[in-house]
Symmetry: C2
Subunit: 229 residues, 2 copies
């Protein structure tokens, strides 16, 4: 209402400046971590100055937390684009895993921020109470698939939605997070297009296997070698 009219007329646009700072800060913190990032390096990448960073974000740690929250919101928001309504439970699960795998791949900065949070024992993430709702929704998606799968007689009754989510996260996350050390140690071949397709396919097969009541359907649902399908 009033504030919006204001900002339209203003040349100085605080929201835009803040967004600019957040954008650059996200890249820097993702690259170098909390202690490794220099505020001056952030300032250098923005259209504004070091002074303004402190003006809008108090101190380094608050800026870091703002970045984390901002990035988390954006990425978790992007997840809601996925629509699994009406799919067969096994197909839905497959779609969810493939989507998550690709989505993590497309958001390496988010992955790096989570890695950094883990180094900090999730200290800053614990403050972000707004996350609770988003997390419950993420589990809710898996939960609904599980329930539908059980009701359709396709899935085992004893699977834990949280454990299933853990499995999906593990492969999708590791694939991005540990690329540097893994390819240093064991070569880059898993990270070209063919390698990624292989890993994704294998992950789908593995996870479906741990969920299906009748594993003999596995080869029909997801052949290990798609060229034979």
């Amino acid at each position: 209402m009033e504030t919006r009219e204001k900002s339209r007329k203003w040349k100085q646009n605080p929201e835009a400046v803040k967004a600019d700072i957040l954008r650059v800060a996200r890249a820097e913190f993702a690259r170098s971590g909390l202690s490794g990032t220099r505020i001056e390096d952030i300032a250098a990448g923005t259209k504004t100055s070091k002074r303004m960073i402190f003006y809008y974000f108090q101190d380094k740690q608050s800026l870091y937390e703002a970045v984390l929250e901002d990035c988390y919101a954006e990425v978790r928001g992007g997840e809601s684009e996925l629509d699994l309504e009406g799919l067969r439970p096994d197909v839905a699960l497959r779609a969810l895993l493939e989507f998550t795998f690709d989505h993590h791949s497309r958001n390496p900065e988010f992955i790096r921020l989570v890695m950094i949070e883990n180094i900090h024992e999730a200290r800053h993430m614990q403050k972000m109470h707004a996350l609770a709702a988003k997390n419950e929704r993420a589990i809710g998606v898996v939960e609904r698939i599980c329930k539908a799968g059980c009701e359709a007689g396709l899935f085992r009754e004893d699977i834990s939605p949280v454990a299933l989510h853990w499995q999906i996260s593990a492969v999708s996350f590791f694939n991005v997070a540990n690329r540097a050390t893994f390819s240093t140690n064991f070569g880059p071949e898993l990270f070209d297009e063919a390698g990624q397709a292989l890993l994704r396919r294998t992950a789908v097969r593995g996870i479906l296997a741990s969920v299906l009541k009748d594993v003999s359907q596995l080869d029909a649902l997801c052949p290990a070698d798609p060229s034979l399908a």
Copy 2:
């Protein structure tokens, strides 16, 4: 020979001092990363002084690299305790995964150092040419299992040893590395004894499923619910 006679007589014992420094430095670097660690904090934990750290290790980065190499050697060394000779390939694979899962669990400092290396795009690990041999041996173990599995007609012919190693690493690594954020977001229940047993069991099942030629053996080899076995 001579140096050993020396060190026996000496009160001052350089090797012991260096080892002491490395021990404390490993803990600190694992806790706080390269830029986050203060040399004085390391010194405070040793029986010696800050000056001696620079005396023996030149500068902070060299110390960090020495810690990384030391830790890597120790952990990869611990892996050689596993003896899979004479086991059936499917049993051997299962044993390898269970061992790796537990071994990573017992070495959180190593995991954290690898996380930190990934943040640094593996810059320091790339200098450690001594690792190549150890890495090849790790892949060699998986390779032999694959080969034996194929020859026994148990495994698919198209599986890549490196990809299989990736799968084993992914679950074992993620399980330790992302404990903080995962349990912050989704609760701690996967990380008590029962939860860990569940994850390990599920991982075994998933990975075997992606390798076995005849998936119908899966339930016999690794029931999803062991209480039914």
